[in-house]
Symmetry: C2
Amino acid sequence: VRIAVLGTGEVGRAVAGALVGRGHEVRMGSRTGANEAAAAWAADAGERAGHGTFADAAGWAELVVNCTGGGVALAALRAAGAENLAGKVVVDVSNPLDFSHGRPPILSVCNTTSVAEQLQEAFPQARVVKTLNTVNNRIMVDPARLPGRHTLFVCGNDPEAKAAARGLLEGFGWPPEDVLDLGDLTAARGMEMYIPLWLRLMGALGGADFNIAVVRAEG
Amino acid sequence: VRIAVLGTGEVGRAVAGALVGRGHEVRMGSRTGANEAAAAWAADAGERAGHGTFADAAGWAELVVNCTGGGVALAALRAAGAENLAGKVVVDVSNPLDFSHGRPPILSVCNTTSVAEQLQEAFPQARVVKTLNTVNNRIMVDPARLPGRHTLFVCGNDPEAKAAARGLLEGFGWPPEDVLDLGDLTAARGMEMYIPLWLRLMGALGGADFNIAVVRAEG
């Protein structure tokens, strides 16, 4: 599958690298086609890797992964262009972190909406799936870093799009039984609103190498 | 220890019952001293149990547990009276659920504050500790309902108050190593903002008999 990864930060590079490693063709998209991080990544990542503007990458791709920050995701997808997203699965990995009031960040949207819902509303022909936002980028693409079972969440309005996203997750090593479908895209509120707890956990544990496992009563 | 449990709902009755079972003297507090649920609970729970107004219960108690809903917690503690809370540990179990817009509820406060912080601000001489709000009341007082290890969070500004709260939790059966201290009371934002995810998990799993376990990298 031809995949556009929007965003050239740690998350974008981790996801794009893992996708190339699983045999996908990947173009990393950025605001300007001449982004140095994207060029360096593509030069490093071999012949299945390329880069370009958000619109270049999205227009070429069959599936789009948004790895830009939640505060700029809407602008990034606007730059990608509605016509380049129409009908495509758009996997949204972002969190609406707002550092403008200092640290820890607050959320720029929450409670009554979410970044994922805003993207879906702005691009009704895209098939938005939320996943991967609840773990650090190293765990996103290598869940076996952590011992035993732990849980990843997925939600979205389009069952086929969720199935496509789950396929990518399985390629990253997520056992299907540990990927929990939370239903339609309004569940993205819960997935994004978990982040303040995640940030406090990171502080208490002294690092980002953790996740949560859902533990159920037996029987 | 003489403990006031404010609130006569499922959470209040579960917590009050468990405290009596561990040998504490408990008074259940309600808005009116003549609350039927509180009277029935106290009649059932034996000689260590009593009930009264919020002020009766808090004034008599050495430690207060707020089991009222987050939307009414501030009013309940005002009714209890600042003079009856001063110097005392106030364990806040509440969540700011607002059902006025339908289901699922939204949070009445979040992101930049929390119920626990609002209580602390309104009653600066109380020693507020947040805990137990991330699990169903049955799990609060019987963590062994779930198999294996799973995590409870605690936060607050007063280390002694947190130690007192941890003592109650240990009495409920929470292994100390599974009670994670997230730091000062601003962590209550994260603990309360986890609830929208909890609600979606309840929907996906078909019930409230679950919790999360924090899973860390080994080594």
